[in-house]
């Protein structure tokens, strides 16, 4: 939208609708991310949180609604969606590391094949990113040889290597054993503090309270409430929000 941007809006999603079969999973969701902001999306399972993320980078095509990356609309028909995706990082719940490639090759392949970087430069970059997530020594390991937490960190490195404008995290720690969650959250927290723009679907309230600029509560396919973590935790407007936050804190701790 012209005129309004003072704060350098990186992502804007407007009125996203998505139906699967008879179920309308997203019933008109809109949100906005300014550069450097970290927002956390929470809500009961099946409320379309993951779907929202996938609609943003068009891994799932929304039925209606528009998305802008910076000033460019990315939901248009002739958009080069690959170029768009190269600018949006995505971290999956199931990691989805390329099983036939080492950690280094996993991180390197995006810059090499999509951005057409030459091999030595791409390799250097990959090593840097792996070290950034604390896995410099595991460059030659295959995914099968890594723990869950390590795999997820490699997948974050893979996203970072593309120098994205923002990163979408789809329940990054839900598939991990409890002891391994910490190492991933550490990386995510330091990314947020370094100023990365992030949109995360997660249950990790500790993370949210530490770095989130805003928490978005979704239920039934719409955003029920959103606001700064402190306000939501102490003084949420909607009863459902309060209920959910209490349940979450009970289950997952602070």
């Amino acid at each position: 939208m012209t005129g309004e941007s003072t704060n350098d809006i990186v992502l804007r999603a407007q009125d996203i609708h998505k139906t699967y079969g008879d179920l309308e999973v997203l019933r008109g969701v809109s949100c906005e991310l300014a550069r450097g902001e970290t927002k956390v999306v929470i809500g009961p399972s099946g409320t379309g949180k993951s779907t929202l993320l996938r609609c943003i980078n068009q891994l799932t095509i929304p039925d209606s609604g528009r998305v802008w990356l910076g000033d460019t609309e990315i939901t248009c028909k002739d958009c080069d969606i690959n170029a768009v995706r190269a600018q949006i990082g995505f971290v999956f719940q199931d990691f989805n590391l390329f099983t036939h490639l080492t950690a280094l090759q996993n991180v390197r392949i995006g810059p090499m094949r999509v951005k057409k970087m030459d091999r030595p430069t791409a390799t250097r970059l990959a090593v840097e990113e792996l070290e950034r997530v604390g896995l410099g020594d595991k460059a030659g390991a295959y995914p099968a040889e890594l723990s869950g937490g390590q795999k997820q960190r490699v997948s974050i490195a893979r996203a970072l290597a593309m120098f994205p404008q923002l990163i979408l995290f789809d329940e990054p720690t839900s598939a991990l054993d409890p002891e391994l969650i910490g190492e991933v959250l550490e990386v995510m927290i330091s990314l947020a503090k370094e100023g990365m723009t992030m949109l995360c679907v997660t249950h990790e309230m500790g993370f949210a309270r530490t770095v989130a600029d805003e928490i978005i509560f979704m239920e039934g396919g719409i955003i029920l409430e959103q606001g700064a973590p402190d306000r939501l935790f102490s003084n949420a407007r909607e009863p459902r929000t309060r209920e959910f936050l209490n349940k979450i804190t009970e289950l997952y701790g602070e």
Partner: protein, 231 residues
């Protein structure tokens, strides 16, 4: 017994070359056709997929022997196209192998976890890039075990081209049968045939070992070799 021992060499000398050539040729032709067909079946439009399915059904429902006769006698007498016997055998069985191999590759491609493709797209790869760099390398590894099976099948099927006169190991053995009968007596035919069988067995093992070596060389830690091939 003497004649038997003297038969081993002729079987190998006169029959083995064609058997080996045919086997390699069939596998090659089957691969050259089978892979594109598998690709079309997984990634192609519906009418294309349909056509491939029909192709597969035909070559898996008709006996190899009938295909050989169809291609050789049939073409010769109905259309006056007389192919050399080796070529007829090669084409008939090659087309057949392509139908089976397309199955193998299709199964392998589909066995690659869908998350791999999704992840590839998420970093901005185009569909083709994803297929080329992520899906196919994995599918290749998954297809080696069933392909080893196909090697064995193909080797054994080469014996069928003896029906149209190609002198490979089976035909050579059959040609030697009267000699053995004459020189040693009918009871020794059994021995001759067992010898021929053993040569095939050796070839099967040799091939299996070679392919097993290949499998080990391209193996990756933790990579699932459980390619579920569907019939």
């Amino acid at each position: 017994m003497d004649t038997i021992l003297h038969s081993i060499w002729p079987i190998v000398r006169d029959g083995l070359p064609n058997t080996v050539l045919l086997t390699l040729g069939l596998l090659g032709l089957g691969l050259a056709l089978g892979f594109p067909i598998a690709f079309a079946q997984v990634y192609g439009y519906r009418p294309l997929r349909w056509a491939c399915k029909g192709y597969e059904q035909f070559f898996r429902g008709v006996p190899a022997l009938v295909l050989i006769l169809l291609l050789h006698s049939g073409l010769a007498r109905s259309f006056h196209i007389l192919l050399p016997t080796f070529a007829s055998g090669l084409i008939a069985l090659g087309l057949r192998s392509s139908a089976y191999q397309s199955q193998i590759f299709r199964g392998a491609i589909q066995a690659v976890h869908p998350g791999q493709m999704i992840a590839a797209r998420s970093i901005g790869m185009s569909k083709w890039q994803a297929i080329r760099h992520i899906v196919l390398p994995q599918a290749f590894r998954l297809s080696i075990p069933p392909w080893t099976n196909e090697y064995s099948s193909v080797l054994k099927d080469t014996s069928l081209v003896s029906a149209i006169g190609v002198v490979e190991m089976m035909k050579k053995t059959m040609l030697l049968m009267p000699t053995v009968q004459y020189r040693e007596g009918a009871k020794w035919i059994l021995m001759l045939l067992i010898v021929a069988a053993l040569v095939y067995l050796l070839l099967t093992y040799a091939g299996n070992m070679g392919l097993g070596l290949l499998e080990r060389r391209v193996r990756l830690p933790g990579f699932e070799m459980t390619g579920k091939v569907e019939r």
